[in-house]
Symmetry: C2
Subunit: 207 residues, 2 copies
DNA sequence: ACAACTCGGTTATGTTTTTAACTGAGTAAC
DNA sequence: GTTACTCAGTTAAAAACATAACCGAGTTGT
């Protein structure tokens, strides 16, 4: 797995992704051509497209490591743990570690990256596509735990929307100027409430 | 001349040469294999031999930039200047700039490189071969100035031996602990004397 | 004396990359 | 409305590369 070939491939991927994000943040997505990115990463244009299928994917590669994470968490959970509990626990650990996927990371470059992704229509669209695939693969992982196709897809979709709303909530609070450590308690409480709803299904009175 | 291709080629050359010299200085020429050098430069062994014909050439590449320099100096001299005067002037400028080829550079890494070259028989032999080629090309340049084959070869050979003795003299003085600025005056005087002998041919009384 | 190993150097093969040219869509100029 | 330009994405051919295998000479250990 680790020869010179794969080592240099990974370096080229990273160089392209890093150069692209840096340029997009500095000058704006539309004011940077793929030729600029290739030049900054010191590769040719065909090589760029051998690593990434589109200009948008250059940006999403940084987040793509986390795609498939939910499915993996479910598959690798302790035998006596429910899938939802494992996902809940994993999200809480993400909050503690200020993982960017939870929306609770106030590092300036992460916030800038966030804005880049969601303020650029093409990228946001592509992100939703990838998120849909991620949700589908979580659905498969869940089907291994309880072989009910429809229910697996339902739970996967609910997890996806829960995670997205929680992250968006946290990100909005950070965008208003508060710090991650300041927001953390209410983020944890919100996660507990959301995952509790997902697990026990009991919506509060009035719903 | 300057595409991505040549840029990366030059980088690989430099990486190989630098890695080799660093390893040879740290562990000794014989205690480092070409595989070690290739690994340190992050290329494969066949690639190493595509850039350098032998293990010894890895070391001499650093000095190889200066090969052909004498011929170039002669070709590019001012029209009213004799070849020997141009070479003399160039050597004096080298002394002023503490150029490694003059032997008057007391930078520790340069001294260590010097020892590596001359204390390793294989490298020293190869250096003499390359120096011989350098002398031959100087001979051709001289022949353009005064089309006498034998005389051109004679003057080229004399220049080569003059340069070598002057450099060896300077290097020996530095090796005994003195600084380059301390040695510089006598080095300049010695160069004047040597090139004067070469130009006017008048050996002092007693020879 | 023999087997196992190391090292400098080489070769065959498939993969990756550069280069230069191209397509097709959009856009600004006139 | 036509010309000229820019950009994302593609293609073909040649250069460079990694990998794994090999050769021959020299060492070491037994």
């Amino acid at each position: 797995m680790s020869g010179l070939r794969d080592l240099k491939k990974e370096r080229t991927r990273q160089a392209l992704s890093d150069a692209a994000i840096a340029l997009f943040l500095a000058r704006g997505f539309d004011r940077v051509s793929v030729a600029d990115v290739a030049a900054a990463a010191e590769v040719s244009k065909p090589t760029l497209f051998r690593y990434f299928d589109s200009k948008e994917d250059l940006v999403l590669h940084r987040a793509a490591d986390h795609f498939g994470e939910a499915a993996r968490v479910v598959r690798d959970r302790a035998p006596d743990q429910t899938p939802i509990s494992a996902l809940h626990q994993h999200f809480q650990r993400g909050l503690d570690e200020r993982a960017p996927t939870t929306g609770l990371c106030d590092a300036p470059d992460v916030l800038a990256y966030h804005r880049l992704v969601f303020d650029t229509p093409g990228i946001a669209v592509r992100l939703r596509e990838l998120t849909a695939e991620d949700t589908a693969s979580l659905g498969e992982a869940l089907r291994a735990a309880a072989p009910d196709d429809l229910m697996s897809r339902l739970v996967a979709a609910q997890y996806a929307v829960v995670r997205e709303i929680l992250a968006r909530e946290n990100w909005a609070k950070l965008a208003s100027g508060r710090t991650a450590t300041d927001v953390h308690p209410e983020a944890a409480a919100a996660a507990d409430a959301a995952f509790g709803l997902l697990a026990r299904g009991g919506a509060p009175h009035g719903y």
